[in-house]
Amino acid sequence: MEKTLPKIEIIEKYCKGCHICVEFCPKDVLEMKGFYASVKNLEACIKCMQCELRCPDFAIKVITE
């Protein structure tokens, strides 16, 4: 079965750059780009939703079909 990739939406207006999503991602998908979090390696994402769950600022949405 082919792996479907999710869409990781980062709302920069809400992001406060706390690094929580980057540090707690088990697959190292995210990185800090300047002040905000951004997606580095979407291919590695396993849709565990940890970033969405832990973001205190409602800034990340992992959209899976």
Partner: protein, 274 residues
């Protein structure tokens, strides 16, 4: 699929005022997920708070909300519940608001066992007012008013609530984000006064003064100190030194609930009149 938090948030209120890395946002997400799981009606849910960082929470949630005087959330919420017993009343607040300034209201709400849920976000400090030590600041830790270390021993909110007579007491942490909504769901479903203490992090006023280098270090500390109740049963007292139990700590379904008891008082009083 991504959880839709937006339907529970007042339009245009985000981003919130909490500092980068503050766990209050994680607790708020947990509360929203819990309210959504229980499919609470917005018009039948009241979120009541006092003053403080954590008490800013009702401002963002789209349901009936009440932002009251410092420490008096329990008093106002009791009024709401007495007037409208069908409402789901949820109190939110911090450790300073709940156990110091509102300590008296808190213990007496526990004693009455009125059907409400109190979510206390314990970040060990008064964050909003500039980092003064709170009753939950651990011994030796620094705050803006105790620059050489706090001499007082800290409160154990869960034990205080159990001692005061609350019938459901649970504890979670901001690190264990998945557990928060489950604890809150159980607390709201419980008939009686439920207390959910969530250990939180305050990187700005607490972490900075106590040599926590980052938010991540504070989160990892929560991970290290938390021990689930079931795991703790197999551990020795030595191993439990410095650890904090998490999960449902106490549950008593036999104690009479206040609204029910008060209805009986009304009935008795009206019988006398006739």
């Amino acid at each position: 699929m991504a959880f839709d938090y937006d339907k529970w948030i007042r339009p245009g209120k985000l981003p919130h005022i909490w500092c980068p890395g503050c766990g209050h946002g994680i607790v708020m997400k947990g509360l929203i997920r819990a309210m959504d799981t229980l499919q609470l009606k917005k018009e039948e849910t009241a979120v009541v708070s006092g003053i403080g960082c954590a008490s800013r929470l009702p401002g963002y949630i789209d349901c009936c909300t009440l932002h009251t005087a410092h420490g008096r959330a329990a008093a106002f919420a009791t009024g709401v519940k007495m007037a409208r017993p069908e409402m789901n009343v949820i109190l939110v607040g911090g450790d300073g608001d709940g156990t110091a300034i509102g300590g008296n209201h808190f213990i007496h709400a526990c004693r009455r066992n009125i059907d409400m849920t109190y979510i206390i976000m314990n970040n060990y400090i008064y964050g909003m007012t500039g980092g003064q030590f709170s009753p939950c600041t651990p011994t030796g830790h620094k705050a803006s008013t105790t620059p050489y270390g706090n001499p007082d021993p800290g409160f154990d909110i869960a034990k205080l609530a159990i001692g005061a007579g609350a019938t459901f007491v649970a504890r979670g942490t901001a690190f264990h984000a998945n557990q928060i909504d489950k604890l809150i769901v159980e607390a709201i479903q419980h008939k009686g006064f439920s207390v959910v203490e969530i250990l939180d992090d305050c990187p700005t006023t607490y972490g900075r003064r106590n040599k926590f280098k980052s938010v991540i270090e504070m989160m990892n500390r929560l991970k290290e100190v938390a021990v689930p109740v079931k795991a703790a049963e197999k551990m020795t007292a030595e191993q439990l030194q410095g650890k904090v139990l998490t999960g449902v700590l106490y549950k008593d379904e036999t104690k009479p609930e206040y609204i029910v008891e008060y209805a009986k008082v009304i009935e008795r009083a009206q019988a006398v009149k006739k």
